[in-house]
Symmetry: C2
Subunit: 349 residues, 2 copies
Amino acid sequence: MNIEDLLKQKSEWLRGIGPDSDIVVSSRIRLARNLRGYPFTHWGGDDEKAEIIEKIVTVCEKISRLKGALFLRINEISKVDRQFLVERHLMSREFGAEPEHKMLIISSDEVMSVMVNEEDHLRIQTMKSGFDLKNAWNIIDAFDEALAKELDFAYHDEFGYLTACPTNVGTGMRASVMLHLPSLVLTKQIDKILQAIAKLSLTTRGLYGEGTEASGNFFQISNQVTLGRSESELIEHISGMIGQVIEHERNARNALLEKNEARLKDRVWRAFGILKSSRIITSSETIDLLSSVRLGCDLNILPGMNTELLNELFIITQPAHLQKLEGKKLTPEERDLKRAQIIRERLNI
Amino acid sequence: MNIEDLLKQKSEWLRGIGPDSDIVVSSRIRLARNLRGYPFTHWGGDDEKAEIIEKIVTVCEKISRLKGALFLRINEISKVDRQFLVERHLMSREFGAEPEHKMLIISSDEVMSVMVNEEDHLRIQTMKSGFDLKNAWNIIDAFDEALAKELDFAYHDEFGYLTACPTNVGTGMRASVMLHLPSLVLTKQIDKILQAIAKLSLTTRGLYGEGTEASGNFFQISNQVTLGRSESELIEHISGMIGQVIEHERNARNALLEKNEARLKDRVWRAFGILKSSRIITSSETIDLLSSVRLGCDLNILPGMNTELLNELFIITQPAHLQKLEGKKLTPEERDLKRAQIIRERLNI
């Protein structure tokens, strides 16, 4: 397997299936782990980092969940490839920004990925489509156990897993759910809801995690607390809260359909019409229009449209994906043309 | 023939044919005439106005050009019907606003219309599609001669035809051409051109004549001077000037195609996409989008699109037309829905 193979396949989390997939795009869990006896990545020397990579790769190669996985040394791949992996949510922006002594391991179905020498020695992530934190937890927990058999993790009996940043100490777990909340935005209830969530120790972020703005009405909600509770308790807590957000969004959708059906349909159909017609389109306009079309799809306003295709468009219309699809570097202007072309090709079916 | 028949037919001037029909929608000539021995309309008594109507109707009924024509007493038709006739450019707004003692005569092909007791006793108009003032002149001149055989027009050997407003004295003729100048607007040359035109004794107006704003990049150019030159000289003068405007617009279109083809195509296709998709659309947005689609049609960007259909959409999406098509009064909100529906039905073919 190589990077080009990723381009040809659809990540599992883009399939638009799973519980509440009309509102929840994907569920993600990541664990932060460090090897005992080594300094945290930022303090480690080159030799130590190289040793850590070697140790982890050796173990991972033996784990059956990673059969056929892709092992990538980040300093050996191009800038476009790094951006491509960020766009696919397989690694963090920061991880690609300083590529030396960094290794990324991706399972062949893209459900699992492992960053070696990120802020922590290991950042393990699982992504599933729909609202499915429990399944994601089962997968990552089994994987974590398999690793723990071969690797000696830095663990403190009182504090739990030790991590580079104190906010991750304890379980080292962050559970995030990507929600599509267009109706809460349209009915101006979103701020109130996000404020309530913040009080319950949950944080909200944009499409690409920490420091990114919410765009296209997508919101990533995750736990802030990692200490003092078990993983299952944390997952139960966040799942309960998110269940309520989902209910609010569903109520708002019904209210819009009841009170303002024509205007809602107009918004959906116009977005669809522009996407099917435009010859030049920016990334940000694309996300906004796809958000409206997705809402239309979820409310059966657009017959024959499917979430998987829309999710795919969200991903492949991003700058690095476009350049990989075209097989060469593209200026921003060329990307706006190519983006419009690809969207037309996929939607005019 | 009755008003409902008009709704079913397409006016000749909407056919999108004739010289330079990629830029010129229609050519129109109107003549102002008054009967000798009667005060001008604004000063005339009810009996005098009634007498004038009777005289003119008697004559018109005998003229072969008006065989099968529609004779309408404006005070006997509904407000919506009056607005409908204004939207079809068959009578002036002012004519409908004070409906007493007013008669409108419309030839069955809508090429000729006669307003009785407008500002002048007679306002005769001919409209032809494309840039065709000479043909329009031949038609109206023959009609005027036929009328003059039976009616005694107020005429002064030195000044020519006498009219209620001094600006019409002389020939009593106004020749207007409706031009679609989107590229001169896009390239910001339009103001310079309109200023040049104003210096040459021509005036520019919007879609509905005096006092209306230019919308949808449509400009009506007509002569200001009616005195001291023959009709043919006036027509030759305005035709020469308009020929130059057409050339400027054509150059601007070529320049846009050369320098900015993708952006131009994007504008055209988006407009087309929105028109084919929207569920709610205002009259003003419709005109703007149809203008872009018309440009795309004229530049062969939109294959299979035809000017006649677009011209028809310009007309039938207006408030009174929508209400007549629906067969009942519609609120502005209902019209926005109906307008979107009709546009979709006609464009999704």
